[in-house]
Every structure is written in structure tokens, then in C-alpha cells.
């Protein structure tokens, strides 16, 4: 569903991303680990066509993101690290608005259903975003993704700054979505969450994907050791 | 500590492209405007000098004439340009420059420069006063709108507070960093003006006192705007909001308030139209004593009284030229009519001035504008003073002409001619601009208003910074 082949990004002589080959199938949750500046966000930005690749290609459901950006984006949902929405609109209105941008039409009941599915308590639906906590905003992000009927999900450190309970809820939501066949690519620092939620793991260092494995191959302690080994 | 704050603020400013561009542009525009203004000043003065010489020559060289005809022929009074008008041209563009002086008629100043310009001139000219009054406050806003909001947005304000910086010093550092470049530009402008003024031919008294006073007025004006800018920046949650609010403040105080106060002044105390005014005077003249109307009742009374006083039967027997005497009496009576009407016009103007002065409380621009014009002797009051002096001169001139006729000719002797000796005996019109003390006394209210603005804004900004939220 998500496929990078020889995808690379240079800024002059600085290499942000060495040629990267990576595939995320339907139902998989691929977690990218690595230090700040390792190239995780660059990878996600390339899939979103936010930046132009220097070489190689990124495909979403077989669609080249550079050649046909609008079609590829129709299949994608994205939740940035700090999801900011329109503070003057309510949660429900935000979902409605972004769905409209994605050319989807929903009734009020359907919108409510998405928000409820995303775990946002009913009484908050009509409150303005400016009154929401970060966890609530991330839930609205999930609702937007649900409403979009996205086939691929791109997440950039979605759980940083969330309390453990909110973080756990978020992971559960991701699992539910992957069960429906959504392919997820997530950049994260949280080894524990990655092991718990993800199906595949990749460790990045200085723009290179240095390790790829599935979560069932490794336990927590070994993952931490492996990670620290690469970092040093 | 204060030096460290100041150094940091100035370094930050200088490293920012916006600051350099704005200050350099401002300096350039300032220099250009002063040079253009100097050219204008010189050419106007040259014209005036020539016109004055011409008028005098016409008067003295008018040949042999009956003195009363000479009074009819008349001459012109020209308003001299005060040296500091180089900096602030005030209302000069909208007030006439010359007054025709003749027997029986008080004229208004004619030919305002604005009528000889295109409609574009109503946008304002690129003169030093335009820069001083409008642009520099705008530059203060442009440079200082995010003085505090920038620190709040980037989070450094939190850090500053955690270092325990006393509020007063933080404010002082930012204040000086914002004010210093502005003060320097102002000083450059004033120094340039002083150099140019001492370099070109001197047409009037260029007093250091007036120059210094004007400089002080503008420095206080900028201090007010610096205070207001920092005040708004301190209470605004975001830079953009601070910017919009400050801009609104500028538009309100520099553009909207002056225009609104004019509208109010004019609405409360309207002027008559030119023709209305003239016809009112004509009506009074008709029903009053008229020099050419000896059958008028009042004139008749005057004749009878004079005859009785000198104990003669007819005017021809009088020991002086009755015609001359009679016309002089008529002139004096008309002068009273003029005085009455111009006095009521003056009252209207003074009432309007009071409205302006009251509304000056609402905008720091207004007191500064009036002070600046007054110090440069280009305000409306200076114009009135000139017009009054010209009227006084006119009465003196006509009086002298009629007086000569009374003494040196007999009644009915209309072919009596005077010559150049008499014309030359009339002193040239020499107008002395208002003294510094008079100006200061008149402008006391505006001076106090401006200082009040300074004081209140300074206190407000101190309190605001003290209570400033770090979020």
C-alpha cells in the first residue's frame, strides 16, 4: 500500500535521506524509530509530497505521489505531531470541513459516529477546538482519517506529549484501523508503544534505514539494546 | 544590566533586515525632503523679494497724482516666510500670501498655493513636516510592534522572567533601543535644516530658541509613540494583533482625528461663504457712512457739526480740505465696519481653535501639529497676525494720503497733485513675526496636552509591563 523505492532527499551536499526502500502492506503498522534528525519526518513528508524527492519514488496504493499528488492524497490520512485544527470551529465542524476538502459528504449522525469511534466523548463534539486537550485533538485527527476512509495512515510522533492513558487509547484506535486493512506508517520515539502497537519496526540513523524487523521477532529488552547499539 | 539589555536589543534590531531597510529609507526620504523644501523655500522667498520690490517701486513711482487716487491705486503687503517654515510649512499652502491694500476696502489674502496645484496635493506633500508628523510615528510602530510579543511568542519572555530581570530595566532597555534610532534620524533632519538655513540668504530671524523648541516638541511626540507602541506590544497576546491595533491607533490619531475634529469644528462654528461675507459688509456700508455719499444722514450730521465748530456757513470756507477730511472720516467708519465683521470671523476661528484644542486630548498628533506650526510661524494665528498688521498699515497709508489732502489743498481742489516725495514718505510695510513668548503663551494648552500624553502613556506602559503576562 505504501511503497518507497530508492527514495532519497539531498539538501545540496547534506543528505537528509539515503536511498530508502520500504513497503507497508494492508493491515500493517510500520513504526520508524530513530533519533531526532534521523530522517523519519523527511520520509513521511516525502509520502505526503510536502517535499520533492531528489531521487526514487514514493507510491501510495501504486500511485506516484509526485506525478499524481491529488489522487495519492485522496488515499492518505495524516496526523502530525501537534495536530492543530481550526480553534474557532467545533470538533464536529472540523471533521466536516476536512471531509469536504476530501470531497466526502456526511450527515451529522455519521460525523458523530466517526468522533465516537475515535473515542471522543459525545459532550465535546460541539465544543470549540480551542477548549480541547492535545489527546482530544488527536482523536479528532483519527476521526478525520476515519471519515476520509483512508487506505494509508501517516503518523508523525502522534503520541508524544500524551498521558499514558490517552496514549494507550490512541494505540487501540490504530490497531482497530489496521484490522480494517489500513496501512500505517508511524514515526515515533516510544519503543514500548512501537513494540505493543506495531507489526513492523525500522530503525533509522543519519538518513539511513539501518534495521528492519517484525515485532514478533524481538522482546522489549532486546529492542532497547538494539536501538541503543545503533545510536552509539 | 541595563547595558546588556540595551546591547542585546540594538544588536537584534541591527541584524534584522526590516530595521536596516526602514531606517535607511527613512534617512533617504528625510534628506530628499529637506533639500526639496529648501529649494521651494528659496524660490518662494525670491518671488516675494521681487514682488515686494516691484510693489514698492510701483507705489513710489506712480507719478503725480491726487493723494486720494494714490490711496485707491494702493499697494500690496506680502507675507514673509519665516525661516523655520523650511521644516513645517503649516497652513501656508492654504492661506493667501498677499493682501491688496487700497482705500475703502479691506481685502483678504489672495492666491493660496493649493489652488495652483493639482488635486494630488491634497494627499500631502513629501515635506519634512510630513515625515516628522506622519512617517516617523509609523516607523516607530513598524520597528516596535513586536518588542514584547516576539519574546512572548518565542518563549524567551518566560526565560527572562525566570532570570529575575526587574521590569523597569527591561522596559528601559527596550524603550531606548526603539527610541535611539528615531532620535538620531530626527536630529539629522534638524541639523540639516539648521545648516541649510544658516547657509542660505537670511530672510528672517532664525532663532536657535525656536529651533530647539521645535526639536523638543518632536522628541516628546516620538516618546509618546514609543510608549504607546511598547504598551500595546506588552498587552497583546500576538504580534499580529499588536500590529493591527497599533496601526489602528496611528490611523485614528494621525489621520482620522484631525479630519474628524475639523468636521466637528466646522459643524459647530461654520464660516460664512465669501460672497455672504462681502454682502454683509456691503449692507453695513450702505446703511452706514460712506465716503462718496455726502447726503447720507450721518454725513450730514458730521458736516453740520464741523461747520458749527469752525463757525462757518459752507465747507468751502473751512480752513482745510473738507473733501479729504470727510473721506478720512468715512474711511475710519468703514474701518470700523470691517473691524466688526473681521472680528466676528476671528471669533469663529477662535471658537474652532478651541474645539481643536479640546479634541487634542484624544490624539497626540493634534497638539504636536499645532505646536509645530505655531513655532514655525505658519499657523492660522500667524496668518491672522499678518492680516491684522496689513490692515493697520492700510489704514495708516490711507490716513496719510487723506491727511496730505486735508492739509495741503483746498476743498474742491481735485486737481491737487502730490508727488514722489509723499509716496516715499510712507514707510515700507515691514511685518514682524510673533515673538517666541507670545507663541508660547498661546500654545500653553497644546504644550500641556502633549506633556500630559507623554506622562500618562509612560505610566501606562510601566504598569502594563509590570503586569505583563508571559503567555
Amino acid at each position: 500500500m505504501l511503497q518507497a523505492s530508492n527514495l532519497s532527499k539531498f539538501y545540496g551536499h547534506t543528505v537528509a535521506l539515503h536511498p530508502l526502500n520500504l513497503t507497508v502492506q494492508r493491515g500493517e503498522i510500520y513504526c520508524l524509530l530513530g533519533a531526532n534528525g534521523a530522517g523519519k519526518t523527511t520520509t513521511i513528508n516525502l509520502f505526503l509530497n510536502f517535499i520533492q524527492p531528489t531521487d526514487g519514488s514514493a507510491l501510495v496504493a501504486g500511485i506516484d505521489v509526485v506525478a499524481r499528488p491529488e489522487e495519492s492524497k485522496a488515499k492518505l490520512a495524516y496526523i502530525p505531531e501537534n495536530l492543530m485544527l481550526y480553534p474557532n470551529l467545533s470538533g464536529l465542524e472540523n471533521v466536516d470541513y476536512f471531509s469536504a476538502l476530501a470531497r466526502q459528504r456526511y450527515s451529522r449522525d455519521e460525523l458523530t459516529a466517526f468522533l465516537t469511534q475515535a473515542g471522543l466523548q459525545e459532550e465535546a463534539h460541539d465544543k470549540r477546538i480551542s477548549t480541547y486537550s492535545k489527546g482530544m485533538r488527536q482523536k479528532v485527527g483519527i476521526a478525520i482519517a476515519l471519515a476520509k476512509k483512508a487506505e494509508a495512515l501517516l503518523l508523525d510522533e502522534p503520541t508524544s506529549g500524551l498521558d499514558p492513558k490517552a496514549s494507550n487509547e490512541f494505540s487501540e484506535l490504530l490497531k482497530k484501523m489496521s484490522q480494517r486493512g489500513v496501512a500505517t506508517l508511524m514515526a515515533t520515539h516510544d519503543l514500548f508503544r512501537a513494540k505493543e502497537t506495531g507489526t513492523h519496526l525500522g530503525i533509522m540513523k543519519e538518513g539511513r534505514l539501518v534495521e528492519q524487523l517484525t515485532t514478533d521477532q524481538i522482546n522489549h529488552t532486546d529492542l532497547e539494546k538494539l536501538y541503543l547499539k545503533h545510536m552509539n | 544590566m541595563i547595558r546588556a539589555i540595551l546591547r542585546k536589543e540594538l544588536t537584534e534590531n541591527v541584524r534584522e533586515g526590516r530595521f536596516r531597510v526602514v531606517i535607511l529609507t527613512l534617512l533617504l526620504v528625510t534628506v530628499v525632503s529637506v533639500l526639496v523644501s529648501k529649494r521651494y523655500y528659496e524660490s518662494v522667498n525670491e518671488q516675494h523679494e521681487r514682488a515686494r520690490a516691484n510693489a514698492r517701486q510701483e507705489w513710489v513711482g506712480q507719478g503725480q497724482k491726487n493723494p486720494h487716487s494714490a490711496a485707491h491705486y494702493g499697494t500690496y503687503a506680502f507675507k514673509p516666510k519665516y525661516p523655520l517654515s523650511l521644516i513645517d510649512n503649516g497652513v501656508d499652502k492654504y492661506a493667501g500670501v498677499s493682501i491688496f491694500l487700497e482705500a475703502h476696502k479691506r481685502s483678504d489674502a489672495q492666491y493660496m498655493a493649493a489652488q495652483d496645484q493639482t488635486a494630488l496635493s491634497r494627499f500631502g506633500d513629501l515635506t519634512p513636516d510630513f515625515i516628522l508628523m506622519f512617517l516617523i510615528p509609523l516607523v516607530i510602530i513598524l520597528l516596535g510592534f513586536n518588542a514584547f510579543t516576539r519574546e512572548r511568542e518565542s518563549g524567551t519572555l518566560r526565560l527572562l522572567k525566570s532570570q529575575g530581570v526587574p521590569v523597569g530595566r527591561l522596559l528601559l532597555g527596550k524603550w531606548v533601543a526603539l527610541y535611539l534610532p528615531i532620535a538620531i534620524v530626527t536630529l539629522v533632519l534638524f541639523a540639516l535644516a539648521a545648516i541649510l538655513l544658516s547657509g542660505i540668504r537670511d530672510y528672517g530671524v532664525f532663532g536657535v530658541g525656536a529651533w530647539l523648541l521645535l526639536l523638543m516638541v518632536f522628541l516628546v511626540y516620538y516618546a509618546v509613540f514609543t510608549n504607546l507602541t511598547l504598551l500595546v506590544s506588552a498587552v497583546s497576546p500576538r504580534s499580529s494583533l499588536s500590529f493591527v491595533a497599533l496601526l489602528g491607533l496611528w490611523v485614528l490619531s494621525c489621520l482620522a482625528m484631525p479630519k474628524a475634529s475639523s468636521a466637528m469644528a466646522d459643524s459647530l462654528f461654520p464660516y460664512p461663504t465669501q460672497l455672504e461675507f462681502e454682502e454683509q459688509i456691503a449692507r453695513d456700508k450702505r446703511s452706514g457712512l460712506n465716503g462718496h455719499d455726502p447726503w447720507n444722514a450721518a454725513a450730514k450730521k458730521l458736516e453740520e457739526e464741523t461747520l458749527a465748530r469752525h463757525n462757518v456757513q459752507t465747507v468751502a470756507e473751512l480752513p482745510f480740505n473738507w473733501d479729504g477730511y470727510f473721506m478720512q472720516q468715512g474711511e475710519e467708519h468703514e474701518a470700523e465696519i470691517y473691524f466688526k465683521h473681521y472680528q466676528s470671523l476671528k471669533e469663529t476661528y477662535q471658537n474652532q481653535t478651541r474645539v481643536y484644542k479640546t479634541l487634542a486630548v484624544l490624539s497626540p498628533f493634534l497638539p504636536t501639529r499645532f505646536l509645530s506650526m505655531a513655532i514655525c510661524r505658519t499657523d492660522y494665528h500667524a496668518h491672522w497676525d499678518f492680516a491684522d498688521a496689513a490692515e493697520k498699515y492700510r489704514l495708516m497709508l490711507v490716513g496719510k494720503m487723506n491727511g496730505d489732502m486735508v492739509e495741503n489743498s483746498k476743498t474742491g481742489e481735485w486737481d491737487y497733485l502730490a508727488d514722489e516725495k509723499l509716496w516715499a514718505a510712507v514707510p515700507d510695510f515691514d511685518y514682524q513675526p510673533l515673538s517666541q513668548r507670545t507663541v508660547l503663551a498661546l500654545q500653553q494648552g497644546n504644550l500641556l496636552t502633549l506633556l500630559g500624553w507623554w506622562l500618562v502613556s509612560a505610566m501606562a506602559v510601566y504598569v502594563a509591563v509590570k503586569k505583563m503576562s508571559i503567555f
Binding site: 505526503l48 489522487e71 478525520i144 | 491634497r122 494627499f123 500590529f243 481653535t353
Partner: protein
């Protein structure tokens, strides 16, 4: 699509400070219209009063002439006798007035500088008239708080406040990343956001004006549609500029400073510089010098009065009287009329040079007005209001023409040594103000303004095309 427009509208509507700004704008509009109405009302009332007084005076004089003709009344002094052509021609005069146009209240223009009615007399030259009006020069200096001021100066600021951060705010709050992840054309999305704002502002502007007109009892005067069109195209220009600045992809603060600088340049500096250059390049000769020439010529003519008159009769034999048994009672005037041409000859070079320079100034300004939409709007609004410099110079010509007609009426009769009669009164020349022939620049102004806006929009599009998504997101 419609939904996204609705949400766009909702986010705008929920900004409280915007409604405060709009309310402020309405307040300004109302105040401006009130001032304009008062100004025009005073003008019309003064003209009406003058006309009425003229009618009364003419009626009284007609009655008097009639009484004298029937021997019921007599005047001992000829300089008071209204049957004397000179007395009538010098004392009565007729009002030559410039009646206000329906939209005169919109723009004060030059109307505070010049008088709107005058009474040309036999003596004195109309071309030397000052046409000045009594007013406080401080008021002239400060300018009027009229609708033109509100539109030229304040409207762009409203547009800027309303749109400077359309894109940058989204980036700064972070929602731009989410929006860009949607399958949309970003340019179209941004353009839509601007369109919504433009329509909202247009509604506020037009609504404020119409409400102010109605509240002031002005109705919808002829030309309102054209006025609204040009004002909205000016607002459109500022939106286009704001759009361009937005797509350069800088921060809100940077956008605000850029747009404000543009405002300073377009509204404050360019008009001042162009105006300054006009007076520098084409300085008008000193009016004082004109007076000097006039007086010299007049004094010369005075000295040679009889000689001039002789030459004059030679040139105008038709004016010579057949019956010369009685002295002409208008001897002074006849000499004066004879000298007019001579004086005119001496003064005309100065007057011509003066007019030429003024025309050059105007031509320069006309040509350079395209440099700033603010000048275009001023030109268009004064044009609609009938208060432009062109209108006043045309009125001056009308006064001069009427003064000539007035004099031509009296002159031959005075040479013939006639009296004023009641029949002759009906043939006195009349003046009706006409402004149709004043060249209107409105359509060109409007067209250029719209073209300029489209040009700026296109420039925005080019800038946007060169901008990568990366730069758009990074700011």
C-alpha cells in the same frame, strides 16, 4: 465545495475583533456621509440663498426702474440711479453657480478650496479672480473626513487586517499540514478563502454605505452603482496584493509589515511624490507677478486713456455714437472698456503661461495616476462627485464666458449712451451650470484598477507556481 465556503465563513464570523472592525468601519462611513451631506447642504443652501436674494433685488430694481420711467421717483445722484447701465451692471450682477452633483457628498475633492458661486460685475477681470472661499486653512490642511477618505485610506487597512494572515496563520497554527495532506488544489483552496473574504468585505462595505445613505436620507443617488463598482475594484486590488504577499509564504508578521509598507507607498508616498514632482517640473509662474503685470498695464492705460479711446473707436467704428450732441454719461466706463484689451494683451502672456503650466501639471498627474490605485480611486470618486480639478477649472471657464456675456450685454448699450429699461432686463444673460462636457476619466480609472488587480493576482499565481510545498510549509 460549498461546504468549505460555509466553514470559511464560519471561522471568519467567529473572530470577534473582526466584527469590531466592521462596526468601526460602519461608524466611519456614517460619520463621513454625514459630513459630506452637511458640506453639500451648506453649499446648495448658500447658492439658493444667493439666487433668491438676486431675484428679490432684481424684482425691486425692476419696480424702481419702472417707477422712474413713469416719473414716480427720481434720483439726484446718477451713481445711484438704477437706470444707469453702469449702476445696474456693477451693482446687480447675476449669480453664476456650480450646483452640486447628486454624489457631491462622496468626495470633497477641491470643493473646500473654491467658491461655488460668484457674481461677475462690469469692472474687474474674471480671469484674475481668485475663486477662493472663506474657510479655516487648518481644515484644508487636515482634509475632509468624507467617504473618499474612508475608502482611499481606511478600506485598504480593513482589507489588510482581514487577509494578511490567511495562509500564514494556517501554517503557524499547524493546520496547514493537515490541509495539504488533503487531495485538493492548494491554489484553488487559497483563492476560495480569499474570495469568501472578498465577498464578506464587499457585503460589509456596500451594506455600510447603503445603510448610511438611507439613515442620512440620501436614498440611492444617481451614479451609486458606478461608485460601488470602483470602490469594490479598489478593495479587490488590495485583496489581490494581500494574496500575492500571502503566497510568498512568509510569516504573519512579515506579511503584515509588507502589506503595511505597500499601503504607505501606495496611499501616502506615491501620491505625495507624484504631486511634488508635478509642481517641481512645471512650476506655475508667480500669481504675484501676474498682478504686477496687470497693474503696470493698467497704470499705462490710465495715462493714455483718451488716446486709447481714439484708437479703439478706429478699430470699432460700430460703437461710435451717431448723435454726439450730448456727452456720454458712461465716459469712465468707455475708457475702461477701451483699455481692457490693452491690459489683457499685457497680462495674457502671464495668464497663458500660468494656465499652460497648470495644464502640464494636470497632464503629468493624469498620466502618472496609474502608478497608484489610491490616486485612481481619488480621481474616479471626484469625477463622480463633480468635485475634481477638471470640474473647477471648467467652472472657471464658464464664469469667464458668462462675465464676457455680461459685459457684452452692457458695453454696446453704454457706447450708445442708453438707459436701463424694464424690457432690456429680460434680455440679461443667464447662466445654467453644465457639467456634461467635462471629460470623464471614470471608465479608464475603473478599467485600469481592475486590470492592475488582475495583474497582481497573476503575479501571485506565478509566485505560487515557483513555490514548492516544502517552502510553503516551512515559511
Amino acid at each position: 465545495m460549498i461546504k468549505s465556503l460555509i466553514y470559511e465563513w464560519k471561522t471568519i464570523a467567529r473572530e470577534r475583533w473582526l466584527s469590531v472592525l466592521f462596526l468601526l468601519f460602519f461608524g466611519c462611513t456614517l460619520f463621513a456621509v454625514r459630513n459630506g451631506r452637511e458640506h453639500v447642504g451648506d453649499r446648495a443652501a448658500a447658492i439658493d440663498k444667493a439666487r433668491h436674494e438676486q431675484e428679490v433685488a432684481e424684482e425691486a430694481t425692476r419696480f424702481e426702474i419702472d417707477s422712474i420711467a413713469r416719473g414716480l421717483k427720481r434720483y439726484e445722484q446718477s451713481w445711484l440711479d438704477p437706470r444707469m447701465l453702469s449702476v445696474y451692471g456693477q451693482r446687480m450682477g447675476r449669480v453664476v453657480a456650480m450646483d452640486p452633483q447628486p454624489l457631491a457628498f462622496v468626495s470633497t475633492g477641491q470643493s473646500d478650496l473654491f467658491t461655488h458661486y460668484t457674481k461677475p460685475k462690469l469692472y474687474g477681470e474674471a480671469y484674475a479672480l481668485g475663486f477662493s472661499e472663506l474657510s479655516n486653512p487648518v481644515k484644508l490642511l487636515f482634509g475632509s473626513f468624507d467617504l473618499a477618505f474612508v475608502c482611499i485610506y481606511l478600506l485598504p487597512l480593513l482589507v489588510v487586517a482581514f487577509s494578511y494572515n490567511v495562509l500564514s496563520a494556517e501554517r503557524e497554527s499547524g493546520s496547514l499540514r493537515l490541509t495539504l495532506a488533503q487531495p485538493i488544489s492548494v491554489f484553488g483552496w487559497l483563492l476560495r478563502k480569499f474570495m469568501v473574504r472578498f465577498v464578506a468585505l464587499a457585503a460589509v462595505v456596500v451594506g455600510s454605505m447603503m445603510l448610511a445613505f438611507l439613515m442620512m436620507g440620501l436614498g440611492l443617488p444617481h451614479g451609486t452603482v458606478r461608485m460601488v463598482a470602483v470602490i469594490l475594484s479598489y478593495a479587490f486590488f488590495w485583496f489581490a496584493l494581500s494574496f500575492w504577499v500571502n503566497v510568498t509564504g512568509k510569516s504573519s508578521g512579515s506579511n503584515a509589515v509588507k502589506l503595511m509598507s505597500a499601503w504607505i507607498v501606495v496611499v501616502l508616498l506615491l501620491p505625495a511624490i507624484i504631486g511634488q514632482l508635478a509642481t517641481q517640473l512645471y512650476p506655475v509662474p508667480s500669481r504675484i507677478n501676474m498682478i504686477h503685470q496687470y497693474r503696470v498695464a493698467e497704470a499705462e492705460a490710465d495715462k493714455r486713456a483718451s488716446e486709447i479711446l481714439k484708437t479703439y473707436y478706429r478699430d470699432h467704428p460700430e460703437l461710435a455714437r451717431q448723435d454726439s450732441s450730448q456727452p456720454n454719461r458712461y465716459q469712465f466706463w468707455i475708457e475702461y472698456f477701451a483699455s481692457i484689451d490693452l491690459i489683457k494683451e499685457a497680462v495674457m502672456p502671464v495668464v497663458d503661461r500660468y494656465n499652460r503650466q497648470l495644464a502640464s501639471q494636470q497632464a503629468w498627474v493624469d498620466q502618472w495616476r496609474f502608478a497608484s490605485p489610491a490616486i485612481l480611486l481619488q480621481d474616479a470618486l471626484t469625477d463622480l462627485s463633480g468635485t475634481s480639478a477638471r470640474h473647477y477649472s471648467d467652472f472657471r471657464q464658464q464664469v469667464i464666458a458668462y462675465a464676457d456675456a455680461w459685459r457684452s450685454y452692457f458695453m454696446p448699450r453704454m457706447f450708445r449712451n442708453e438707459w436701463m429699461t424694464t424690457e432690456a432686463l429680460d434680455q440679461l444673460p443667464r447662466h445654467t451650470y453644465q457639467s456634461q462636457h467635462v471629460r470623464s476619466s471614470f471608465l479608464i480609472d475603473l478599467l485600469v484598477m481592475v486590470l492592475a488587480a488582475i495583474g497582481v493576482l497573476a503575479a501571485g499565481w506565478v509566485t505560487f507556481r515557483r513555490l514548492s510545498t516544502e517552502q510553503l510549509l516551512a515559511g
